[in-house]
Symmetry: C2
Subunit: 330 residues, 2 copies
């Protein structure tokens, strides 16, 4: 590895002068500056990040923790983060967790060890104490998922109201036997709130709750398939599905079509997140649009503000609006 010293040697100046040229600081005569630049080029010198960053208090890096890198919905959150980050000379790094706590902790260490300046959590497996303690020491922003009752700042959506909107839509269209479909753990806030909305709406309208035991399937599409199979077996007269993601809705549609059940005439379906999947299905899927890009913007803005005023560990959370996009499936 070429160091600043080798450059200094070749340009016949001191390391201080080389440093000045690199960082455009201090007065350096045009002649020597040129000599230094030539030496840098000849040696293909690039400053070692560890050396530089050891002397700064910031690394200029934020880390986003995602479930996986295959989700168009998360992608637009990332794009929002990147926009603000790049405007402020921050780099954005992403790591995946797959909902695995060991992985999440592994990458959170990068924050605790000051390899990155802040973390934006889009998935979260930490419990209340863990996230509180992390947030007390470091800039953390939670997007979508957050821990109930924790004081850490989150950028999210009122999943309960969104769920109610879906249910009112279905019930308003005359649906009476509505099932709920989700993936993963029920105890993450988004799923829990949607399910609470599902139950409340049915109870209030004196309709039956078809989905009581909530199974855990790992992957969206096949979860949808499995849930559809089970539901249609237990309740053949189901006339609507509220799917907690578009991909789950795709899996449900797949099974309905295999049984020649018409959508929406026989069974209506509503998805969630309004991703590209909602447009690739036939019929196109009714879904709930969340303002994902702006949630990313808000999260990164939050991190930057926190970085400016070290003291303020308790910033207000932001709840974004949602919109039910009606298409052909309901």
């Amino acid at each position: 590895m070429t160091t600043i010293e080798e450059v200094a040697l070749r340009a016949k100046v001191s390391v201080a002068t080389v440093s000045r040229v690199i960082n455009d600081k201090g007065n350096v005569s045009p002649a020597t500056a040129e000599r230094v630049r030539i030496a840098i080029k000849e040696l293909k010198y690039q400053p070692n990040a560890m050396g530089v960053l050891l002397r700064r208090e910031r690394t200029g890096m934020v880390l986003i923790l995602l479930h996986s890198v295959d989700n168009p919905f998360f992608s637009s959150i990332v794009q929002g983060v990147e926009k603000i980050a790049h405007e402020n000379d921050y780099n954005v790094l992403i790591s995946t967790t797959y909902g695995d706590q060991a992985r999440e902790k592994r990458y959170i260490k990068l924050l605790q060890r000051h390899f990155v300046d802040g973390v934006i959590l889009i998935t979260n497996t930490l419990n209340r104490e863990e996230i509180q303690e992390l947030n007390a020491q470091f800039p953390v922003a939670q997007v979508l998922e957050y821990v109930e009752g924790s004081e850490t700042t989150h950028i999210s959506v009122d999943f309960y109201q969104a769920g109610r909107a879906v249910m009112e839509h279905l019930i308003g269209n005359g649906r009476k036997r509505i099932a709920f479909a989700h993936t993963g753990l029920i105890d993450i806030i988004s799923t829990k709130e949607k399910y609470r909305a599902y139950r409340d709406a049915l109870t209030q309208h004196q309709l039956p709750i078809l989905t009581s035991q909530l199974n855990v399937y790992p992957f969206g599409f096949s979860s949808g398939q499995s849930i559809a199979r089970e539901t249609l077996q237990d309740h053949p007269d189901t006339d609507a599905f509220f799917a907690s993601s578009d991909l789950i809705a795709c899996g449900i549609m797949d099974q309905l079509k295999q049984r020649n059940i018409r959508i929406p005439e026989d069974v209506a379906i509503v998805g969630f997140d309004n991703t590209i999947f909602a447009e690739t299905t036939q019929p196109k899927l009714t879904s709930v649009e969340l303002n994902s890009f702006n949630m990313g913007v808000a999260a990164m803005t939050l991190i930057l503000e926190r970085l400016k005023s070290q003291t303020d560990t308790h910033q207000p959370s932001i709840i974004f609006p949602f919109e039910l996009i009606q298409r052909e499936s309901s």
Copy 2:
């Protein structure tokens, strides 16, 4: 930030001893080790990464450069990389480029400045000289896309043969007016080779080339829609589409359905990459399966080997097999 010195002070030992305890090196009496551990816990001490890494020659980080984080196909490459990386105590960081050269260069700086030990390029906007020069100095692996005639190692697929397989399949099924559909620049190797296969197959079978001018659309689904519209206008008797990705195929299907054109009776469609999209469509999509997970495994393995033997900058490339998955759309 708490430093090792503060821990030493509180435990009434030297920094050397604290370091020994942290890294389980050298002989430390159980009693003092315990005192140190208590101090570490009380102060919530975490070693500063920059301090540690300045003294190592490695950071234990690899960077994957992706177009974007919304692609199920890329996701399984990433998972292959992660598997090998974690087995070897490496962390995996991901950044997005969106095919933008400025972004790509921005993040490649992290390699050049030794913030990460190696880079796996899944998108590439660099030219032959740039990639060669980078590869001469640092561990670089290119997956899927690579620069023709460059000596840098790549993990890829014979896109030409894959393209030929698609074409033979369509022609074998009696299709005579076949159009080609792609997104983005034609001069990336994957698209270029598929298109070459498309032309060669048609020429060889004395069939007309419907797609001669190749337009650049940014996003898969809408690209498919636009291409379908244009093609059907110019060649209403088109009877098949070879789409260079599944999402493009989805866009094409969307337009065909709007015109009540039957798939595959009137028009057949074949996609590429065999992603989940191929299963969410109705009818399900014939597509080309690439061994994406193992390509990720191979890429990370390559990086690790290169890291072991610094000298060997010219490792052999690996070409993985492919498989045409026949479904209902053709």
